[in-house]
Symmetry: C2
Subunit: 190 residues, 2 copies
């Protein structure tokens, strides 16, 4: 599938309400009440009324090996499930030391030492996920990570964050902001 | 080093003269007489007077392992050497089948089966190279590959292209255009 380019804008309107804006490490993101999420196949112009905007792009897997890819395909849910009215946007930037590592060194830290892929698998299909790459777009973050889940899985999602943040891989994270969101039309659904 | 975002524009002016515009596979690029190469740390606006424009972004190594990275660091020359008045821009797009492969499968094709890294090493330091990633930017190509060399190494560069195009990896290339270039100020140097 060709990449999906996303433009997330923070401001006073949008289909996701911001319930929490937590600066985990590094510089915070300015307070906003809502997010808009625009998807396209090419670079979108920035909206003039946004307080801030972030770009990202989906893409092929960078560390996942064949057997892991098959395991993930079996249990990965789609986005936009009716019951998944909670979401999280967690933009992350890693250190220059991370990006200077060779491919095998990064893979070793990510999976052999930190079990990033295995930890994520344990929370599927409850937590739907999408990873946007942002570093290649000259952005202030390297990744925009996006998660969707039903309200009853919010505690499981908190568990997942604790597990990842305790990993060796996370010692290479120099900026992280956690935005917790509720879908604006959530109350209108049966 | 943070990514360098490039905007290459084809038109009637620029610091590189187009000597050859060869469509190797798939759709061609329209004829232009010159290229401009703009570098920045963020996304640049497209110039209105360009016939076409292509974007890319440098980044961390995606397949190179630790020992290969050390070997490459020892012999990789910088760009913009005074004697390197010849250049080539070769935009490439790979098939969806390539991008659907897992990381270990792509690495096996790229190096174990095709010796892409080893072939490239054999032509250093004569041929300076830079790889720009373009797929993540919603571009018509996945990569912009850039090469610089002195006129006396042009035949060696042709050899390198033959070796790479004969590899198993190249069976995944569905679009490739070869632009051969001469630096416009080249005649002015002693």
């Amino acid at each position: 599938m060709p990449p999906i380019l996303v433009l997330v804008t923070g401001g006073s309107a949008g289909s996701w309400r911001v319930d929490r804006n937590l600066c985990v490490r590094g510089e915070p993101l300015a307070a906003v009440s809502h997010l808009r999420v625009h998807e396209a196949s090419e670079l979108l112009p920035t909206a003039a009324d946004a307080t801030w905007s972030l770009r990202g792009s989906t893409g092929h897997v960078r560390y996942v090996e064949r057997n892991e890819k098959l395991d993930l395909a079996t249990v990965t849910p789609p986005l936009a499930r009716a019951e998944a009215t909670c979401a999280a946007l967690i933009p992350i930037r890693k250190t220059e030391a991370w990006w200077d590592l060779a491919q095998d060194e990064r893979r070793a830290i990510l999976e052999q030492q930190s079990q990033h892929i295995r930890i994520g698998l344990a929370y599927l299909p409850a937590i739907a996920r999408r990873l946007y790459h942002a570093r290649e777009l000259g952005q202030p973050f390297d990744f925009l990570t996006w998660f969707e889940f039903a309200p009853e899985h919010a505690a499981r999602f908190d568990e997942l964050l604790v597990a990842l943040r305790a990993s060796h891989e996370w010692s290479y994270v120099e900026r992280e902001v956690e935005l917790r969101l509720t879908r604006v039309d959530a109350g209108a659904r049966p």
